[in-house]
Subunit: 358 residues, 4 copies
């Protein structure tokens, strides 16, 4: 269950790290959307490992094949089936992992839950699964673009190196200029330095991604259990390695008084506006037309190239030494995934909002 | 839409702050659960305002009336309808709020989304709605108790006063001893002092609630979009005033290396165990049998007894001065709400897990 | 589970025959609908037993109490909670039924499924549950009326007495003139005669209800598993005592050739129209703007006032002799229930259709 | 929307008649099911056109390719992605249909609903879509087999030639012996004669399929809106060309008295049993352990090789003359589709039933 995300615009995904491929079905896509294939490919490229010296050297040539739901370059409103074929299915690499449980991976929980698992590369629990989300996210972005809604994420923290300012202090157009996808060039350089060092040790490091959504109309969000930020939080928490989500003032909100942080309304040349946006663009679970912004915490990923104690499937103590390749910091690659999940959620809520217009 | 929460154990709630009452329907409750009415009432009492000098003086006498789904004191498996009648429906109190938008409240977004709203006490957007969750949560707790699953939440931060240790450093049985529901008596006293001071000014303050779930079996959680922590996060983010959610190491995870924070497995007298629990009891979205723990950030609530600039519904600048009563800090009352949403989610996932046993 | 019906406009119902009452929550109702309370009451009256000599003499004074979702006489878009209190809770009447299984009733299956049941009047399996549907149906009708969509059902068969013509051969405005709700006065008289005779014997008889929906726009229906007629069929098959559903030509369609029954298109003064409507207003699961019509088969209800062999809960052979009152033919009372389920389904699909407009 | 069917065991399908292929994702499949690939292929073969002289001569070599969810021949509990590649994508054949609306086809409703459609072979509205259901159905059958649940459908009527007896009067093992899939050899011969004659004229004919499910435990079905027969009816009504559904006594039930048709319980050597099974194995929406049986009405399919009046997309009167190939009677090929939808529904409800065991 639960390989489907969304209410109206729905992604159902399938696939394991080392099976035939990762794919999915997108249902509920509005008809008549021009599918810009170059844009979609570019989005997949952003998620691809091996984009720079700081990431995993695995070269995946991720190209999507669409099966359905498209006619003469446009969406038809029928389900869009697709796959990204796996190029690397060398299961031999994983033979030694077949019978042991990697620390902080899902091997143990999958095996106990299902009584069986595909051990090759983590199987279904691999982050490679997120590539299906980038396909659905890219199409959602194309649709949202028609309504001038824009979603931009960036790396705001790696280890202890963090951007101290608000998203408004940076030129987000610089994000893609750095390998680490951080719009502050100096901090970006520091982050890259840190990641390179960690990579050389075979270790990994976590961080935070900030995401900003501009151009949303007032009214997206469904009280009480479908609050817009709850849907966004849910979306982010389904991404591998995510440990936390906050929007608007987030955890910092605990520190302040109502009198300090209420967003006061004022008459802005005949339109209702607020002096501040501590709420993060959402009030009572419904978008208020201000920028929506949130932060997503990622742990350091569990695959490290250092020896680790662990147990075999038969509960015998053993030592795991992973071989070959690893990704010291997923943050740069996770940026398009965060954007994709936000885009899917936003489009879904745009379509849901239509149901109120009677 | 979306006044329903859960997949199998489902709460559909209804009601406004100053309508006839707040109620709901619980569907999918296992049959044969003994309904301990005293326990249910006690849970409602924990959520009730006016429990101590630090909270709002409103005296709500919240008693639940059950309509269905119960026979001779036991659940029958059919839907449980219920209501908590509103005692206070003096709409006159709210006449002056009818035509203006309170800052950081949902008045503006509701009005724009629906074109109409019940302005009395915030209508549907009032936190009074959460009382229905406490009924469903209390019943879920009664069911989970049969499986030795226990859920305990406590106030771990108010303003800048915070518990520095892990939940394991405290005796959680002390939680209910303090008005603020903090298991550290010294910190509790400080928090109460702070809240009393803030109350005297007519202001409000935020904080953090920590929640711990013990006794869960291995295997709860549905990859990939139904990860257990995503469901818990979603549940928490639907609670009024919540701005953030983190589990396990949470946002702190960003700071550490994989080599520092992987939870290494070992053979613990013939059983698989981990040396640490940075994962927060969930790996790959599936419970691993360790304690599940998470933190929920609350902003200071928006209703303050100080003058605030705002606008009328017709976009004219005006001054709002709320009268009478206010709750300077919702944290203590939110503790049972956090527990309730966790209990509903856990029971739901226990029932979902059954679908894997074929 | 499954006490909720609908996707956007959703009814969650609760209640047992002899509990506190029957009620529900309507979620997803468009805001701004004027609630004509007289109309709603009139719809409940149509479902009420004891309307004439041919039905059960039970006099239920069914009045709905609304709890929420309404402000100054209009719907607000928030959930509408409601109850119809049960007047008759004399459980003593049912003491003798507590320990036995009534033939062709749900006592045995409920007891086996849940291990417990409310035996008074059939508990949750009683047709009294349908009153909640009539409330949601009445509100749906009020909304659909704004779009000039009209739903009319009538009794087209009782036992072997049946209307041979198409719905177009009758003046459906005559439906409410006869106690049996049949628009053909002669057949209506025959049906009433038959029902009176069957009633005098303590027996029951089945029949068929035909339903016609006019004014639907082109485009309602969601391929492939949400075809409009599949949703209507599902809706009808959830009504107590229903054994079959057919739309358009229905089972008769088996007898004819494609060349005889294809609905040929033609240019009707500049608009696309069809010469015939064997399809029943739906093609490929999507409404085509023609009248939608379908037929629903009801068995004779199981409660008869004649002696019947059966078994006790402990599997001992026994004789059941029901006392007091019974309904010889539910068809007349089922007419508004059929209409209500059709109205709920139609409004739901009208709202779903909005999600295609991007 | 709605390209997903099921609650726990869920099929999401995609694909058009002349696109890359027809496929889907099966979510919620129990882990550890041995996938008998020969059996699955055999089920696809049963649905294949061109199996005998009476059906369409199109030779489709339908073979399924699985993408995921399987490890070493067993299901893993993760989603099963699959495709059946289309061999025939000669869109030129359909050029003349691109701009006109075929009578009683979905061309007009799709075009109006979505503003765009894939005109090749009916696109998404083609019955070729049902092949995905046969894959999910075959896997469901393999799972149900482990619980000794068996599903058998057969052709019981073609045009006016019909089996008069109950399903119990026939040896259902003979079903596959005749091209028309009718277990009565004499009637089968008559039906084949009729179909051959109709085929020679380029015309089509409808019929009825009867389906029997044996071995179901007591307790499947979810009151009140998830009644087992409502789910089965919904499932059947989503199959192309289906116009009606009835279970147990069905429409005939209208003719009889309660005293004639109540299923009386008796003590059958210590077990509760019924003398008759007019209920069709379901009481109050819940299976009672008796055989479940139902009938599904199919209209004659709309594609005929005779001239027909119709209109172009621009509403101009024109004549349609379909070329080449057609299927005079879909009944034989629809038998495995009916079985598949029944199998999917049954497995889904078996898994749902688990949620009551707490």
């Amino acid at each position: 269950m639960f390989n489907t995300f969304g209410n109206i615009y729905r992604l159902t995904s399938f696939g394991e790290s080392h099976g035939a491929g990762i794919g999915g079905v997108i249902d509920g896509c509005p008809s008549g959307i021009d599918l810009d294939m170059d844009f979609i490919q570019q989005e997949l490229n952003r998620r691809k490992p091996g984009q720079s010296r700081i990431t995993t050297p695995r070269k995946e040539d991720d190209e999507v094949q669409f099966f359905s739901g498209i006619y003469e370059g446009k969406t038809t409103g029928t389900p869009i089936g697709f796959i990204i074929w796996n190029k690397n299915q060398h299961s031999a690499d994983y033979d030694n992992m077949k019978s042991l449980y990697r620390p902080s991976h899902a091997d143990y929980t999958y095996q106990t839950k299902y009584g069986i698992r595909d051990p090759r590369g983590g199987g279904r629990s691999s982050a490679r699964e997120t590539i299906a989300r980038c396909v659905a996210g890219a199409i959602a972005k194309l649709a949202l673009r028609q309504r001038d809604i824009r979603i931009q994420a960036f790396t705001s923290q790696v280890g202890s190196i963090k951007l101290e300012g608000s998203y408004q202090d940076y030129d987000l157009n610089l994000t893609e200029d750095s390998a680490v996808r951080c719009p502050d060039p100096e901090k970006a350089a520091e982050m890259e330095e840190l990641i390179a060092e960690i990579k050389s040790k075979g270790d990994t490091v976590g961080g935070v991604i900030t995401c900003v959504i501009t151009g949303t109309p007032v009214g997206l969000g469904e009280p009480v259990f479908g609050k817009l930020h709850a849907a966004l939080g849910h979306a982010m928490l389904t991404i591998n390695a995510v440990k936390g989500f906050e929007y608007g003032d987030g955890f910092d909100a605990a520190l302040f008084r109502g009198s300090e942080r209420n967003d006061r309304f004022f008459n802005d040349h005949g339109h209702i506006n607020t002096h501040t946006n501590h709420s993060g663009g959402i009030q009572g679970g419904i978008s208020n037309g201000q920028d929506i912004y949130f932060r997503v915490a990622f742990k350091s990923v569990a695959t490290i190239l250092m020896e680790q104690e662990t147990v075999t499937q038969d509960c015998e103590d053993t030592i795991l030494k992973a071989r070959g390749r690893h990704d010291p910091c997923v943050l740069p690659r996770a940026v398009p995934i965060v954007e994709s999940m936000a885009a899917i959620t936003l489009l879904d809520y745009m379509l849901l909002q239509k149901t109120h217009e009677f």
